[in-house]
Amino acid sequence: MTVTIYVPRDSGALALGAEKVAKAIAEEIDKRKLDARIVRNGSRGLYWLEPMVEVETANGRIAYGPVGAKDAASLFDAGFLSGGAHPLSLGDPEKLPFLAKQTRLTFARVGIIDPVSLDDYRAHGGLAGLEKAVKLEPAAIVEQVTESGLRGRGGAGFPTGIKWKTVLDTPGEVKYIVCNADEGDSGTFSDRMIMEGDPFVLIEGMTIAAIAVGASKGYIYLRSEYPHAEKALNEALAAARKAGVLGTSVLGSHHAFDIEVRMGAGAYVCGEETSLLDSLEGKRGEVRAKPPLPAHKGLFGKPTVINNVISLASVPIILDKGATFYKDFGMGRSRGTIPIQIAGNAKYPGLFEAAFGLTLGEIVDEIGGGTANGRPVRAVQVGGPLGAYFPRALFDTPFDYEAFAAKDGLIGHAGVVVFDDTVDMLKQARFAMEFCAIESCGKCTPCRVGSVRGVETLDRIVRNIEPEKQVALVTDLCNTMKFGSLCALGGFTPYPVMSALKHFPEDFRPHPMQEAAE
């Protein structure tokens, strides 16, 4: 029987040499005339073990990692096709604590299946949600999504069902489903992992959305930094069209729907939904004033659902297992699961999907294992470049939209970036302002000019010029930006800046000795 070997095609694994590993394994198979095939799967999300290679044995899957091309020969010598012992053996991957402790709903298939095989997708429960949806009235689909408590995973946390209902209730011959795959937040990669590891689940989610609101065309606006996701998506889209999942008759129903991938062009602000729509229309990605809401007048002025990748990819399981099943996970008004991305200086960086409610401390210290270099954790930034820096003193904050807001922070797209005790929070605050200046769309003065002033002011602290006065100035600037900006780029840049100031004031004081201490 042909043995299946899995070598990830995920960008993270590729960045660590997975392509060379796949090649070396293929050569060994050839050389040894073995009956084996290589499947390029997604990543399980345990990046300290990537490239992680798995073999399908009679006793289930056995993982090895991190595998280098130079290890291929010794793996075959050790009989790894039947799960043979080897120093790199990790045993059953699902028993690895980092995976065993997760609740994988949205990521159920990522790292397990061949991402571009529709048969594999079906064999692992794929399309069950869509099959139910085609038999439902649009309002009933919307009702399920509303009932599930799903909130937008792109950052703002707006209830997905309510957004869909607005589009359903807005009359229009032409409506659109737009997937926000701009994933600009630093420290985040869950959208990428879904698109590379299980693109069909996104396609299925978008198709359910289309049926729910009466849309016939979908766009995935994908950031240009993700060429491997583009490839996987297009392969999956071709397969979905061929099998009649997309096209004039979705799964044989009277619904017509198709999806096109469109590439962004390297502008962070194009992740903001109205800017994204302008960009899709071929304009400068400037933020539009709301109202009108995209749900009323979105892409080309038509009613449009715009949702994040993870929001859409969470819909199939809700339709399949029911709203209650999903809603039963989580805490407070944060229902279901959230794929937490542990990044930066972490011992175990990767993707951890769990019900809402873990504390920040559990995520950073226990799951993430503290820092990679063993130094103490000093700060973590949660929610991307517009997210607040949290000190250890706030590690009891549960991962929940409201709990984070109560601590002047945000969950955003659920990226957690860990910094050790060498971090200079003044530098981090300066970077937040600098990033805002680089990426500002230029429409409002507080954002465009305020961020540049912010950099200059913080630079004066670096040079020890009247630090107290500069701190007061920055605080003022942040207030102006917070209340005078049209979108969250200018409006939320104060989060990282003010949290750094508030929780790490010592880094903003006069520092005559700092250089000598180096």
Binding site: S11, E50, S186, G187, L280, A343, V417, V423, E439
Partner: protein, 180 residues
Amino acid sequence: MIKKENFVLSIVKFAFREGAALTTPQASTEITAKTLAVVEAWREAEGPLLPILHGVQEEFGYIPNEALPVIANALNLSRADVYGVMSFYHDFRERPAGRHVLKLCQAESCQAMGSDAVAEKLRKLLGIDFNETAKDGSVTLEPVYCLGLCACSPSAMLDGEVIGRLDEGKVNEIVAEVRA
């Protein structure tokens, strides 16, 4: 609907008028023809400008000045409109890049893993700063803000190939590759 031949002809005429002053007629014709082919491929699409700009950049490695009027005319826009869109996005270049393009992530996760030191080292070894091209045309160095490789920081992208956990060895490999 205008007939396809007329459409193409009118653009060619238009492009000659606008672009001829800047390049030799021959180069300009070639740019016009290739740009037209890209435009043609997206003519039926909704909101075709970004895909067209990507296509043109893929063709030439940058967006030649002479391509702008061709695109503008085809889409019924002014040349200033097209320029305005092109200049808004970090990806689009007005001038050719080096033979290699190295994008170094400078965002927070990579900062936490020492991307500053990596950038410093690469700047020194390549003899250029960010957004510069080496004198011999070998490489252009650009900052990028997150490649989605934050679980393998610090990260980079060399000619579209992803590289994670940059360390001294990998930095030296990169330098050797772009110099080769």
